[in-house]
């Protein structure tokens, strides 16, 4: 049962078409992420859903109602902006109360509801502070409370955590998930960070240049990328074309490495962690170009006939040096098969 449905949505941004024929379905209570590089159209899609941008084609249907031409201020959706967009002249309390005041809610109802929303985001006691006196994380929580206090039909979040430092980001991620589960709100989340998308979402929609590349559960996107682009985006640094029983170097270069794959595919991809770097003679020959110490393991960039390959060393203590001759083991059983 779809709660939000986008049908062949076209949205122009400036003179370019930012979103092309987008189809998307979000179920009630789901948390769906729009994931992709900057410029892929995810924010444009979100703003179109909120009514801040007018689509040039297609429909937006919410809970059975066609809202494509409904003005933004009547859509009853919450939007948490990347910049938070708190009203600087209003206290945290008044920011959260803004929407309720517009609806002329009587004070007896308004006060406890606002207080509850502020408490739900863990900011009890900060009601009278002005945004300038709040930290980034606190501002972000006020922005969230402001949106959810209105019990919106749909909550849209546009890269809400990108301005926070790494530790806070992880913390807030968990908070968002908890709140979403507790309130059962349907959420659409825009991000360019794949870790965020993987940890939060019920489903991930990977976008590229205004179109959907893959729309699936996190496990599927992670382990079974549908296209070469998705694989590249999700960290499959070793991506090769496969035809005539062999892997081919990318970009039409001459190198090839014969390999049998368990099934049909146009591309095969491996994450660095799946590619051991071994002593010469144990696979595809190569030479170490660079090494990176990553704490848990050492990552090597190895020049091979198939181009540069990223693999990991088996042993943290010992290891290869730049210029060493090594070999790369590409295990067909561990490959992600695409197309």
């Amino acid at each position: 049962m779809s709660y939000l449905r986008l049908e062949k949505l076209d949205v122009a941004y400036g003179r370019a078409a930012a979103v092309h024929g987008l189809d998307l379905v979000v179920g009630a209570g789901e948390l769906v992420s729009l994931l992709g590089p900057s410029g892929c159209g995810k924010t444009t899609t979100m703003r179109a859903i909120a009514g801040l941008l007018q689509p040039s084609g297609g429909r937006i249907v919410l809970d059975g109602q066609d809202i494509t031409t409904l003005p933004a201020h009547r859509r009853e959706m919450g939007l948490v902006f990347q910049s938070y967009a708190l009203f600087p002249h209003l206290s945290a309390f008044e920011n959260v109360a803004f929407g309720l005041r517009l609806r002329r809610l009587p004070a007896a109802e308004l006060q406890p509801r606002v207080a509850a929303a502020i408490a739900a985001v863990g900011l009890a006691g900060f009601e009278q502070r002005l945004p300038a006196k709040l930290s980034g994380g606190q501002q972000q929580r006020v922005a969230l409370a402001r949106a959810i206090v209105l019990r919106p039909r749909l909550l849209l979040l546009d890269e809400p955590l990108s301005n926070l430092d790494a530790k806070l980001r992880v913390q807030m991620r968990a908070e968002l998930r908890r709140i979403q589960r507790e309130l059962g709100i349907t959420m659409l989340y825009v991000t360019h960070d794949q870790d965020e998308a993987l940890s939060l979402s019920d489903r991930i929609v990977i976008m590229r240049e205004g179109r959907v590349e893959q729309d699936a559960a996190p496990e599927a996107v992670y382990h079974s990328p549908a296209t070469a682009f998705v694989a590249g985006f999700m960290g499959y640094d070793n991506l090769f074309e496969w035809r005539d029983g062999a892997l081919h170097a990318p970009d039409g270069a001459a190198g090839r490495w014969p390999l049998q794959l368990p099934g049909p595919a146009a591309h095969a991809a491996w994450r660095p962690e799946q590619v051991p770097v071994l002593a010469p003679g144990n696979g595809l020959a190569g030479r170490v170009l660079a090494r990176s110490y990553l704490g848990e393991r050492i990552e090597y960039l190895v020049e091979t006939e198939l181009g540069p390959v990223k693999g990991v060393g088996p042993d943290v203590a010992a290891g290869w040096r730049e210029g060493d001759a090594v070999s790369i083991a590409l295990d067909p059983a561990r490959a992600a098969l695409i197309g």
């Binding site: 703003r47 909120a50 009514g51 801040l52 003005p71 933004a72 201020h73 009547r74 859509r75 009853e76 959706m77 919450g78 939007l79 902006f81 990347q82 910049s83 967009a85 708190l86 009203f87 600087p88 002249h89 803004f98 929407g99 517009l102 609806r103 402001r146 949106a147 209105l150």
Partner: protein, 268 residues
Amino acid sequence: MRSRIPWWLLAPALALVGLLFVLPVAALLAGAFKIDGHLGLAHFTAFFDEPLHTQVYWRTLRIAGLATVVSALVCYPAAMAMVKVPARWRGLLTGLVILPLMVSPIARTYSWIVLLGRNGLANSLLVGSGVFDEPATLLFTEGAVFVGLLQLMMPLMLLSLVSALENLPPDVLAAAQTLGANRWQSFARVVLPLTQEGLIVGGTLVFTGCVTAFITPALLGGPKVLMLETLLYQKVNVASDMAAASVIAVLLLLTTIVVNQVLKRVSR
């Protein structure tokens, strides 16, 4: 950063402004309070005894106030439109708004003489279309002075508001919309409170600009519609009444200072 006062850098400017500006002006203003060698307010009471003078003072404040209100009403929406103009045209648009400020006020005011004179455009249209039988006297009226001053001062309000609108935090308007505010509510509850400093600055510039205007009232109001500065000129050149001139000078300065201070408090 050095901490000694660099006298040699400041002395020339200080000397010029101090000796050849502050002192003479202070002497002039003091003259308003000196009667036969001792201090008093007799000049002021004598000034306000004359009904013409009170009328002129009141007229000056009235026209200035009206011009300020009208320019605010027109320039707020105009400024909101201007900040949304694509970047390609912004520079040109800003230049077009600044240009009038750089052109001689005489030229700018003169265009109203062309428009409102007996053979001017307005009368050509009114008589030509049969609304009036003969040309109406549009010049040398309060309306003419008002329109001339409004045109002179409006860029100040417009630029001030544009600057304030540009400094709005990003997405604040969009946030208001998603929270359910329609256009008017967004304006009244978010834009207005956040840009009120720009409004105050613009309002101060327009109001004091109108109160201290000379050219426009002189050309469009003439001796019939006197404003404070044209009255002062008359007192000096025609009536040789330096006492009254000093009183007007004090009034001009006082009004400017009071308006500045009041508007500063209001914005707190």
